[in-house]
């Protein structure tokens, strides 16, 4: 549960970081920033200033170059989040498929509003824009997994499963 305090990737992730940097020409290692921020977030759950400074040091760039990027892209959490971050699509096509009702149900079920985390630290909900799954909506995403064709019953099942 606790985020790790010491900011350093395990050895195998560091190997991966090296391989990622090698995808770009000499001197263009800054291109590795987004891939490495994703690795960092997978490791520490959110991008704290310490984590971002560490990423800057790996790429030999200024910390501010990492901050300005991490704040631009919506996938990076700049504040602590729960164990499962539910990213719920709020855009038109999903709404046509019944997305609003299902979302209201999810909020009620967890007893929290958009952007909040449950008291036990299990769930955070966020609203996101179209996830490129519009015909399979309503949709939300938890980490890498897409949950599609959502209904109230399905939402309950998923929460029961993950909340254990």
């Amino acid at each position: 549960m606790e985020a790790k305090t010491q900011v350093a990737f395990p050895a195998e992730t560091l190997e991966l970081v090296k391989r990622i940097i090698a995808r770009y020409p000499e001197g263009k290692q800054k291109s590795a920033l987004l891939p490495i921020l994703h690795l960092a977030q997978a490791e520490w759950r959110w991008c704290s200033p310490e984590v971002m400074d560490y990423v800057a040091s790996l790429l030999n760039i200024q910390p501010v170059e990492v901050y300005e990027v991490a704040t631009f892209y919506t996938m990076f959490h700049l504040e602590p989040v729960g164990e499962h971050v539910i990213e719920y699509c709020r855009t038109g096509p999903c709404c046509l498929m019944g997305g609003v009702e299902v979302y209201d149900h999810l909020k009620k079920r967890l007893g929290i509003e958009t952007g909040e985390t449950t008291a036990d630290g299990k769930f955070t909900i966020k609203e996101v824009e179209c996830l490129a799954a519009c015909g399979w909506g309503p949709v939300f995403q938890i980490r890498e997994k897409y949950y599609m064709h959502l209904t109230k019953e399905k939402v309950d099942q998923i929460i029961d499963e993950l909340g254990k």
Binding site: P25, K28, S31, T74, G92, P93, C130, C134, G137
Partner: protein, 432 residues
């Protein structure tokens, strides 16, 4: 007639062995062993294939605009950022049949003389990134990627790059900024990427579907591709359908079928969900103008509208729309146009990169005013105010996101003005 999805439902088509059993990678062998890069480009030109990312720019022509200064590397970057609401065709294709894209990447990179290519995938699709990376490794293992591919002397490395969640990074110059590890702020065009692109080197950016079609063109010839479709809308197109049809999903259609057939025939969408009537369609992703049922089925001249670039845009914005990305959003009579328009306005407000003030401020205004109408606090002058704000954004920005934000609002008011006015006049009913 299926080109991209013929084998998409074959079990294990995502593995290279099964893919090859169904004719996969023949185009790589043919192009690298028997053709010159220019001959490949020539076939793509003959095919008439147009950019499937939405703008419809001829692919072969873009390739021939690629600058080729001595000693400077050239790049091919595949645009798999797919974030236009209503659009999920590239997601479908890459997730189910990753080698279709990879084979196209190899053939296209060869034609362009690129030795390093990237597929930029929106970061949310991390599971698809893993599918692509696994497939790329298989292609290396079989000798279709790497040094001296099939003994041809041609080298190619192929990588997948994740985005970080930003619609604007689908705009090609923002995408290149993002690939350079920066914020996704669009650049001024010209220069086009074909002249100054990734790391200021000549770069072709093409959509997943455009690149995927090139292997079939190499195998069967540009003329065979051009024989499908109608007029300047050649070949097939992936259409992703969402909303109130019986069978939402992704369909590969030959360009030229009628919109009516597409919506109502069993072969495609299967008609509107039970007991309901067609009200409106957004035919090419959230950026293109919405049309009411009668205008999407029939042009103002009374002709049956067809699924082509030309027919969908017939009548201009007054009575027509655009094929765009092929994100086909269908609404029945239960749909509230005001609410639907509001969700798109919020989308563009959220996604504006903020560089140009008309876009940054204007999208905020439209979001706010629509919100007020939707929540029963609309004012009499609000409808005209929205039209005015939309007009002031259009054409006054660095990239087309500004236009993309203003068109849906302007079009919704053009065709459904009475609904907006009704919301303002009957706040107590509208908020029910």
């Amino acid at each position: 007639m299926k080109i991209l999805t013929e084998h998409i439902d074959v079990p294990n088509i995502e593995t290279i062995d099964v893919f090859m059993k169904h004719g996969g990678y023949q185009a790589v062998t043919k192009a690298l062993k028997n053709m010159s890069p220019d001959e490949v480009t020539e076939e793509v030109k003959k095919s008439g294939l147009r950019g499937r990312g939405g703008a419809g720019f001829p692919v072969g022509m873009k390739w021939s605009f690629l600058a080729k200064p001595e000693g400077v590397p050239r790049y091919l970057v595949c645009n798999a950022d797919e974030s236009e609401p209503g659009t999920f065709k590239d997601h479908y294709l890459m997730a189910k049949s990753p080698h279709t894209l990879i084979e196209g990447m190899i053939v296209s990179s060869f034609a362009l003389g690129a030795n390093t290519s990237y597929i930029y995938v929106r970061g949310e699709l991390m599971y698809v990134i893993h599918i692509l990376e696994k497939a790329i490794q298989e292609a290396y293992d079989k000798g279709f990627l790497g040094k001296n591919i099939l003994g041809s002397g041609y080298d190619l490395d192929l990588y997948v790059q994740p985005g970080g969640g930003a619609y604007i990074c689908g705009e090609e110059t923002a995408l290149l900024e993002s690939l350079e590890g920066k914020r996704g702020n669009p650049r001024n065009k010209p220069p086009f990427p074909a002249v100054k692109g990734l790391w200021q080197c000549p770069t072709v950016v093409n959509n997943v579907e455009s690149i995927s079609a090139t292997s079939w063109i190499v195998n069967n010839g540009g003329d065979a591709y051009a024989a499908i479709g109608e007029g300047r809308s050649t070949g097939t197109k992936l259409i992703s359908v969402s909303g109130h049809v019986k069978k939402p999903g992704v369909y590969e259609i030959p360009l030229g079928i009628t919109v009516e057939d597409f919506i109502f025939s069993e072969e495609w969408c299967g008609g509107i969900r039970d007991g309901h009537k067609l009200k409106a369609v957004i035919a090419g992703g959230s950026s293109v103008p919405i049309l009411p049922a009668e205008l999407i089925l029939t042009t103002a001249n009374g002709e049956k509208r067809r699924m082509t670039y030309e027919s969908l845009s017939d009548g201009g914005f007054a009575t027509g729309t655009m094929l765009g990305s092929g994100g086909f959003i269908v609404m029945d009579e239960t749909t509230c146009i005001v609410h639907n328009t509001l969700t798109f306005a919020s989308f563009y407000h959220h996604e504006s990169c903020g560089q140009c003030s008309p876009c940054r401020e204007g999208t905020g205004w439209m979001d706010k005013v629509l919100h007020r109408i939707e929540s029963g606090e609309g004012r009499k002058e609000d409808v005209d105010l929205l039209v005015d704000v939309a007009k002031k954004i259009e054409g006054n920005t660095i990239c087309p996101l500004g236009d993309a934000a203003s068109w849906p609002v302007a079009a919704a008011i053009r065709h459904f003005r009475d609904e907006f006015e009704w919301h303002i006049e009957h706040p107590e009913l509208a908020t029910k």
